[in-house]
């Protein structure tokens, strides 16, 4: 309390008001400019049409929205990308989530090699995504599948992990692996915070490992799971699944919607007259995903575990 007085914090003085104002000024300006202004601009861009390609000579209309529905090729590309995004989210949830929980529980129980696994699984978060993707491509391409690759030597044929048949699987394996770092760290930290007495009393009541996991651990970490489920769902159509790192501009057949949006804007190269359809597509998916995200949040709140 004395320290607070000395620092002048917590007092309703001019100095403290000035301090707080200055403290929040920069982040507020940053928010206003980089979020509010940028998004307002992109909202407007979705309705702007540039008949001559000149930014000053624009009209208002719905062309950027109909762009995705009036041409078969563009429509197919959009639908394919949406399908890829939904499929990728489902795979991430069905494999990444349970595996992340399993590895976390394994470490929480201090099983053999737990510390080593923690380092290995956290590695993707330490390394830059570009470096990790390059290592992964080389390992899968040359070390495992290439002409002298391990699997090729074993099976007697060259395996191309990045051809049309395998590239989506290869991409998803990478994404799931790369996602472990953050999720495992969060889960294990939350598990470590569970009071040992609760676990001990469960054991005294005869609970085995599975029951302990289901009835004690899962309810305690459900709030973290909720964060991953909801944030992952909200970003379902903007997640690029490391596509650029793995494929560059190519292989659009497995591109998720997030990459389609990014590619379109990147290709515009700062020319705003070329961005309208992507702004409109962004708005379309926002209208779809926002209510669904709130619905998911409400549902998880209703049916999910409660910590108490």
């Amino acid at each position: 309390m004395r320290k607070m007085k000395k620092a002048g914090l917590g007092q309703n003085t001019f100095k403290s008001k000035l301090f707080y104002t200055l403290l929040v000024l920069l982040p507020s300006l940053q928010f206003l400019f980089f979020y509010v202004f940028v998004n307002l601009n992109s909202f407007a861009l979705a309705f702007k049409i540039f008949p001559t390609g000149i930014a000053k000579e624009f009209e208002w209309g719905w062309d950027n929205f109909t762009y995705w529905f009036t041409n078969q090729v563009r429509n197919t590309e959009m639908k394919l990308a949406i399908g890829n995004s939904l499929k990728s989210y489902a795979i991430s949830m069905c494999t990444g989530l349970p595996l992340g929980l399993f590895f976390s529980y394994y470490m929480f129980k201090r099983m053999p090699g737990a510390k080593l696994f923690r380092i290995l699984l956290f590695m993707p978060s330490i390394l830059s995504a570009a470096v990790l993707a390059t290592i992964y491509k080389n390992v899968t391409g040359l070390v495992l599948g290439g002409a002298n690759g391990l699997l090729s030597k074993w099976t007697g044929e060259v395996i191309n992990f990045w051809d049309a048949e395998h590239r989506y699987t290869s991409m998803m394996v990478f994404c799931v692996f790369a996602s472990f770092g953050t999720s495992v760290l969060m889960y294990t930290n939350k598990m470590d915070a569970i009071a040992p007495e609760i676990i001990e009393s469960a054991h005294l009541d005869g609970a085995n490992g599975v029951k302990e996991f289901w009835y004690i651990v899962l309810p305690q970490i459900f709030s973290i799971m909720q964060v991953f489920l909801i944030s992952g769902f909200a970003g379902i159509f903007t997640n690029q699944y490391n596509f650029m790192m793995l494929f560059g501009y190519e292989q659009p057949d497995v591109q998720p919607l997030g990459f389609l949006l990014w590619r379109g804007v990147a290709r515009a190269g700062g020319n705003t007259t070329q961005m309208g359809p992507y702004a409109a597509l962004g708005l379309i998916i926002t209208f779809i995903i926002v209510p669904l995200t709130f619905l998911l949040r409400w549902t998880l709140g209703k049916i999910g575990w409660k910590e108490e």
Binding site: F50, K56, E250, G269, G270
Partner: protein, 563 residues
Amino acid sequence: MKKNFFKKALALALCALTATSTVACGGGGNEGGGIGGEKIDANKTQLNVFHYFAGFGDEWLIELKKNFEEKYANVSFEEGKMGVQVHHRGEMRDFTPTQVKTEQFDVYFMESPSDFLNIMAEGSVEPLDSIMETPNPDDNNQTIVEKMTAQQIGFYKFKDGHYYGIPHYAGNYGLIYNRDLFEEKGFFLAAEEDEDGNILITPENPTKSVGPDGKAGTEDDGLPRTYDEFFALCEEIDARGVDPVCFPGMYTQQHLMLLMDNLVANHEGGEQIAIGYTFSGTAENLVVFNEDGTVKKNADGTPVTESLEITEANAYELARQEGRYYGMQFLVKLLSNKAYYNEADGENDQISHTVNQQNFLENGKLGLRQSAMLADGTWWQIEADDVFNYMAEEDKKWAKENRKFGWLPLPQATEEEAAKIASGEKKSTFCDYLNAVSCIKSGLSDGVKKAALEFLKYTYTDEALANFTYTTGTTVGVEYLDAVDRSRLNYYETSLVNYLEASDIAYHVPGSDRYARNIKSLMPAAMYGSGIFTTLERAVWDAGVTADEYFIGHQAFYKGCAW
């Protein structure tokens, strides 16, 4: 106490670290130096020049700066100052209209600007009228406009009647052949097959075919005139232990799609290609489809064609251009047979263009399997300069000036078209996809503006343009090539300059509103796709797509670009 001290020391160290990195972010560490690091001479007018720093390097600009500074050493543009000091900085970047206005550069040499139309519309650049239409006594009273084509004038003379940009360096992808290797191994087509059916020259049958120009005794003798001759030559080259064509796996799409651009242009000719930018005119050779969607063919296997009046509304019909059909046939055939290309470089996505160039140059010296032709840009020599230099250090025979490479005149799809080229009825056509442009920032002070205008005026004199060619071995996209002294060029440079001088040049600049508003989708590297699922090489390698299938898929793809 000790712990407290350690904490404070750590905090201090972190602050110092942050401060250091912040200082580093400040940049411009040259005390009293210009944007390129050269010390500023305050007695001279200062001119800051930006140039796109990629394949063309910066030697041409260093030479231009030196000559301009010397020529204008005794000219005053600002009160109390005499002469001009040019500073330059090269980066591989693009500019928005606002950036052009606000950044520190006075003169820009941009490459493929994303938004030059808006740079002009927003008033970010200075009108250049005073130097465009005024005869220049230092350049035989020529004007800059006289050196430009109608298509270029149509774009750079904006709708307000002012000129805002001047085309600068030009280039596209094609095939470069190793003439030394061709001569050593006899990779030239013979005028007549010998008794054993050999189509290449032999010591017993040394007479070369007349080549694309139809004249005996010229440099293109023995080179293929048609696609069929080209692939027959490739088979012979492969049979002699050499890979016919190489390209980099990292940038296959870029190299092959732009090679396609030139193949298409070379078949269609400048006028027909221009319709793809103006969306106005009569398209002469549009391939006809059967009711089942397949390509309708004549008895000899060539596609049936028709002509059609093109407008903005139906310009997607240009996807049916016969040149596209044949260009796709050429590339699909090339990729469908591993005997035609260097698989090790072309199918490895870790092989960049510079590594590919290095292999092309080095393999003969190292005794490795060589490639006879390189699919690359006109500027490839500059990018490969280091390799030439280090090889020359070992033996002068590997120096650039002592080796012979040639720009391969692209073959024609049919005998009929080849005959037209040989008779002079048709010219070869080359597309410049770079759209490099020079311009001056608006809002400069009077003195600096005058200096900048003089700088550009000097840049486009025949003397300065020829110097550009001597330095880079390439060309600027305006007419001046008759002023280039061929004796100052090496074999490759001469072959390129001669080819370009004899060709029609098509430029990828918008000539219609629809093109302008879809400019990014209609760029040559993007618009030759087929379906949305794959690139040409992947379509062939992964799915075994045929040329007809690719062409059929291209119809919907091209329509999807802008309609």
